[in-house]
Point group: C2
Amino acid sequence: MYELLFKYIQNKTEIDEKTFSEFCHYFKPKMVKKNEYILREGEVCRYNIFVNTGCLKFYLVNDEGKELIRYFAFESKFGTALSSLITQNPSSEYIQAIEKTELLVISRQDFFYLVDTVPQINFIYRDILEMAYLTSQERIYGLQGQRALQQLKWLMTYQPKILSRLSNKVIASYLGVTPYTLSRLKSEL
Amino acid sequence: MYELLFKYIQNKTEIDEKTFSEFCHYFKPKMVKKNEYILREGEVCRYNIFVNTGCLKFYLVNDEGKELIRYFAFESKFGTALSSLITQNPSSEYIQAIEKTELLVISRQDFFYLVDTVPQINFIYRDILEMAYLTSQERIYGLQGQRALQQLKWLMTYQPKILSRLSNKVIASYLGVTPYTLSRLKSEL
DNA sequence: TTAAAACGTTGCCATAGAGCAATGTTTTTG
DNA sequence: CAAAAACATTGCTCTATGGCAACGTTTTAA
């Protein structure tokens, strides 16, 4: 149950099994079905989430009813509605399982307690934020500058998992184009 | 020289002048002229930067030669080419002064030393990353979903400083449209 | 296992924004 | 302060993408 999380932390910091076992019980296992919501728009996010197996999508629905996907969390990834988690304001994002998914869930309070008391978790949180920020920057530059075809090629190179595992509809929503356009772009490759 | 930085930190954490004075000398004052580069593409970023007065732009130049602006750092803001700072790989970003600008510059090594040894700076760095990430998320959703006119209206409401202080050319590059389009959009308001 | 629902593809037309050129305005700099 | 450079605006045309409709395929669920 905790092997992946242990490996994740071990990969980023120095940690022994004893230290890990002292705090890992703060992470509670949770199974969610395909299409099940972990968080809905308007709810306050009270958890940080580690994905053991499966995949979550983080998205919002804009004024025109269009679903905009910001991020996918696959196996061994953390994800949360950070804005709501930090501010404790209602989330504008949904979090939903794309597949049958196994999670480790830690409450906001426990998580920040660990950030403040366990140096390894302090570092892990810093690393999560740094990496999330870097990924966001790349995505901003991609959305700002690239035509959709270029973005698709970038995805093929750097995020092949997204293309191989997810539906066109979902990929289109991530790229910010319609499924029609995506379908046409793929025939241009 | 250090008043703004002290206020910035005091605003976010508990700190007294004595503690501040023990580490503030790691931040070195630096003046840059309008249009002067602080970092160019291909250089490794070795600094974190606090803006005292003026304004910096963080941008890259894409394959088509188009300038894409990711972020502006106005007074009392931190900014750096984080990707390069963390990985110590050559930066794909430029950092350039838009106006005559007064900076406080801290070396990478000193900065991370303070992050690891001064709890207030550890927290400040966490806060910078959190806020930067939140801002990035909003921007991703904006670029993905909104028409340029909507983005412009959003800017008017939430970032009026960008509109009032910067040239159309620069604003267009931030919005990811051409100056022609921006000029037309403004006449639609 | 089969009917219903969701998804993917493609033709057609509509639209937002790009890009060039021409012109006037503002800013920069010697 | 004057000449040069950069910037802003607007007409015209072109292109990438949107959105609907139709149709075949895959997935879902009773």
